[in-house]
Symmetry: C2
Subunit: 370 residues, 2 copies
Amino acid sequence: MRVDGSAYRTVWADRGSGAVRIIDQRHLPFSFEIETLRDVASVAAAIRDMHVRGAGCIGATAGYGMWLAACESGGSQEALHRLADSLVATRPTATNLAWAVGRQLTRLAGAPADDWCRVALAEAEAIADEDVEWCRRIGEHGLRLLRSVADSKPPGEPLNILTHCNAGWLAFVDHGSATAPIYAAHRAGIPIHVWVDETRPRNQGARLTAWELAGEGVPHTVVADNAGGHLMQRGMVDLVITGTDRTTYTGDVANKIGTYLKALAAHDNAIPFYVALPSSTFDWQTADGIADIPIEERSGDELGFVEGLTDGGMVAEVAINNPGSPTANPAFDVTPARLVAGLITERGICPASEAGIAGLFPESGKSESH
Amino acid sequence: MRVDGSAYRTVWADRGSGAVRIIDQRHLPFSFEIETLRDVASVAAAIRDMHVRGAGCIGATAGYGMWLAACESGGSQEALHRLADSLVATRPTATNLAWAVGRQLTRLAGAPADDWCRVALAEAEAIADEDVEWCRRIGEHGLRLLRSVADSKPPGEPLNILTHCNAGWLAFVDHGSATAPIYAAHRAGIPIHVWVDETRPRNQGARLTAWELAGEGVPHTVVADNAGGHLMQRGMVDLVITGTDRTTYTGDVANKIGTYLKALAAHDNAIPFYVALPSSTFDWQTADGIADIPIEERSGDELGFVEGLTDGGMVAEVAINNPGSPTANPAFDVTPARLVAGLITERGICPASEAGIAGLFPESGKSESH
């Protein structure tokens, strides 16, 4: 998507220099920095230290990391696997990371060693392009939904969408999941306005989603996470769209902490609450999201310290809580399927139910067991 | 309540020096500073610039301000009213402010001018003492509720209470409203733990409520506003208690933005949601809180800038949002009566309904109209 008028992906190959380039997201929104990664160790560090984040973006970066691994390994399977392991170890719970590395290993296992470098680059591009294509389709399906809601409004009134956290193009390779329908609608000329939840404690909404939307020229307003219920009560929200970190095959949605509260408010005010996801995010093993999805407890420092710009334009961190008071920081919550109006996937929109999901993804075999 | 082991009120008279003393709340929690106010102009500045905040605390401070006004006026009704007006003008929407000033003017109208200084001090003490007594009674009634919930838990398990914003003693003269039952239960030896909502955008929970609870030695944990729904879903909250800025005679509760979201989550998880208030907070004119209570829209800078301690221990402010992105900042929301389990008042606990409230406050005459 656009940054200062130019089109970017979050990660790409610089074929000329044989390096991987990424947007170093740690510095957003205060500065836009491109980082050049010339070896596997640098890619591993970039993933581990969260220069890149988001399932799709991490997966694609790992795919490109395996390109460098293939070139570095000198044709040695042992070296290749050692480098692959070093990438997987960076963020052990990131499903897409292990998946992308595994896909490259399988591809390279069937290729002559002197062709690895070229084959791995092609596979890395394929992984990234698929991510882009899935998000593009999510945008296409979501666009039809947004158009129908917009058509039901009085002429000239913008469609008001609320989103939580960053399920934007920065979390993927391009387009994003929750943002894909928004960008598609904006480009299609549908008047649109986005309420951006700040998304404490890491402020991904106020920092990343707002930055993304500004780059694309989409009208938006940052609000405290606390404000969404009030906005819905007063008729100022037409639709909620979020992303998800994991969705059960029954339609329970694990997503950034606070998502459940917005789903409750949407339900209480008869506002449709949609979740956008590539199907790689479905958990085909878990039926009861509330009982069985483990919720990561992260450092309380994320809550107690905030980074921002000083008067003098320097980036600085300040401690904001009562000194000495304990903090807790669960990173995700689970929104039960009953509160979700539908799931926007690359294949279309389906109800958040076992039957609805199996209807779009019959190969999952989930519909057969009942 | 206790600060570093010593008992304080938020505002009091220093009779020896003829001055008003307040806790200057602007510096909390990073430093505890007592401010001495020697004239009406200083009291007015302290109210206007939010050295003190909270309905009860502002009312009591204005009461003491009128003591200084009575002494300064030299027996002139004209001077007295001019000084009174200067106090009322500081925060025009604060009901308790105008009420306390009016009460003093009425009292002084019937007193000989050479006795004003003494009479006004006695009246100021009475206003403050009444605030303390009402909050103490809220604590007493709430204690019975908390004890009954605690008794239903397995022995040794603490009672987990979630609260939003600061309806603590800092907002009154002592005890607070939502915190009064908590302090009473803690002093009665009931094992208790408080989840403290950070309360964006002004962070009154993480700054003030956490500071208060630490001073009294009440176990507590600061969480992001987003976390409450998840905690309730996982059985980690037994009861929610908040304060209120205005409650209709039908039981709709206007309170700090985000309260409604917690009430929805409590309802969805069958957790009782209580609101504590002195009866002066009832709005006897308004029936429909959602339709008819105006919601103050405050500066977006409250959302965009955060104050905290730097590495070096200095207080500094940083800008935390995507530069240039617009912000909106509604300060309150309205929780409909249907989500409120009960109201804890100085007279007892009643259902959040017109009949329930009129039952405790028959002099309101509200029950007669139906």
